[in-house]
Subunit: 309 residues, 2 copies
């Protein structure tokens, strides 16, 4: 798949081979996760199998890839970014396992497969989530660090993002079903926390692993924030327009739960416009970097806008 | 309460006023937790109230006190140890909230009060646990550190202890109910992980906050390990001998769940002997420190052995 740039924005290299990039980085991330997670046969086996079941359940690895691509943008390398990329994927996977629980979204299907608690039972699913969250910090403590971005800065970055005012706050808002009568501003509050925060953290960690300048970190923050919001708007759109089979998770859930979404508040067409505008701002943020280094980030942002699942 | 030392071991100062120490350190820890946790009225309120509900539900603060007392033993001060003492209490409280869930031990009562999920519902209880676990790492990232025990070492200490091979492994073993036909060796495996690991981590973190020597860290590890095992043996004994009212949690649970415990495997008297022997080894480990600095650790270990709840 060679993503053509013309309908999105100028400046994205039309000849960037995204499919090749996704394959290559996907392999790097999968090998990293396999190496950096406890082996399935280590005691307690059920727990470690359950952790690996969800980690290797066909996730698209967007967050770790954004982390690696952000490291590239700052002149860094994949090797230094990999433990942080894997930490972010552990956080993401833990949040999915807990979100799918009967006491939360009560979902049986994730990426076309039975959810963790459907396979291992609720108790083990809760503990597997706990263990992945904890393991993310073990990985963060194990990475190489710079004086400017030491382990203190890296651990704080992850803890604040995954914490009670960001990622978990988004899930609480979702859980409390306050979403029914939300304004666009309130919906944005949820999207910022439930999705944008961790995407933003992913690119920031990539930058930190490459010892980026403060100016570069600001640009990555800007990029991650807008890509994250666009990602969630698209998610809302796909929930309406795609089938369960296409998504690999239950489609139409937002509608049947009478959840506020971008389409339900501003309509489908306006939602698409908003997603394009947000992605445009993300592209804009990348102008802080030499163009030759942002091909991957650029293509990933375009891919997230154009994806159909 | 002036704990007299004569029935336990020589060397513990008979005039150490433990009640005063528990009161004073309890206040320090409670004030620290109040200051270092997100305020109850910060958004999302339900979540932050739920976190605080369990944190301030009358816990004895043993782990944070052991952390402070270990800092004293190494010539350090309470101020430097406090964020780590609070981090350990966050980990402990998260593990209790998740352990009490219907999918786990299904307990309605904790310290004489309704468990978190009974008050806030299962969804919020799971998220409150997640948030406390995450917050522990934010606190660890926020503490002052030494070159020898930098944030990398401190975060790793907590992550490994709370992780899939220690704390969570203990809970998995408990959950899988493999305990029915356990040998004493297997029971010890669970106790080491479910209880001893975090007590050991508490004193180690106290030592680290005081920039202890490697020899002191080893002695604290030895102390924490044995105190932790003794603590759990006593817990097993109290489950048999005390009433629900006395314990503030459901008594006789182990027996009714046909769980293996020290009393069920070796009998009540032998269990008491084992607890005394383990505590004796803990006292022995303290000989690595100047006697004037270990009064608190000594008294705490004796108190844990003699407690009735």
């Amino acid at each position: 798949m060679v993503v053509s740039s013309q309908h999105i924005v100028n400046g994205r290299p039309a000849d960037f081979d995204l499919k090749n990039y996704l394959d290559r980085c996907g392999r790097i991330v999968n090998m990293g996760l396999d190496r950096l997670l406890p082996p399935a046969k280590a005691k307690p086996r059920t727990l470690h199998e359950s952790m690996r079941y969800s980690i290797f359940a066909g996730g698209k690895r967007l967050r770790p890839m954004l982390c690696l691509a952000a490291a590239e943008a700052c002149g860094g390398n994949h090797e230094a970014a990999l433990p942080l990329a894997c930490a972010v994927e552990c956080i993401h996977t833990y949040s999915l396992i807990h979100d799918d629980l009967p006491a939360m979204d009560d979902d049986d299907l994730r990426r076309g497969n039975p959810t963790n608690h459907k396979v291992y039972g609720e108790g083990i699913a809760i503990l597997a989530g706990d263990a992945l969250l904890t393991h993310a910090f073990e990985l963060a403590a194990g990475c190489d660090a710079w004086p400017r971005y030491d382990h203190q800065a890296i651990v704080r970055e992850i803890a604040v993002t995954a914490g009670s005012k960001q990622l978990i706050a988004g899930q609480v808002a979702d859980l409390e079903g306050e979403s029914c009568d939300l304004s666009r501003v309130e919906l944005k509050y949820i999207h910022e926390r439930k999705t944008s925060a961790l995407l933003c953290c992913s690119v920031r960690l990539g930058g930190m692993s490459a010892n980026c300048t403060p100016k570069q970190l600001k640009a990555l923050t800007d990029f991650g924030y807008h890509v994250g919001l666009a990602f969630q708007v698209i998610d809302d759109i796909l929930d309406v327009t795609q089938s369960t089979e296409q998504l690999g998770k239950t489609a139409g859930k937002d509608q049947s739960a009478a959840k506020a979404t971008y389409p339900s508040i501003v309509g489908l067409e306006k939602s698409r416009t908003i997603a394009r505008q947000l992605t445009g701002r993300a592209f804009k943020a990348l102008e802080a970097f030499p163009k030759r280094r942002t091909a991957a980030l650029n293509a990933l942002a375009a891919y997230l806008l154009e994806r159909d699942r």
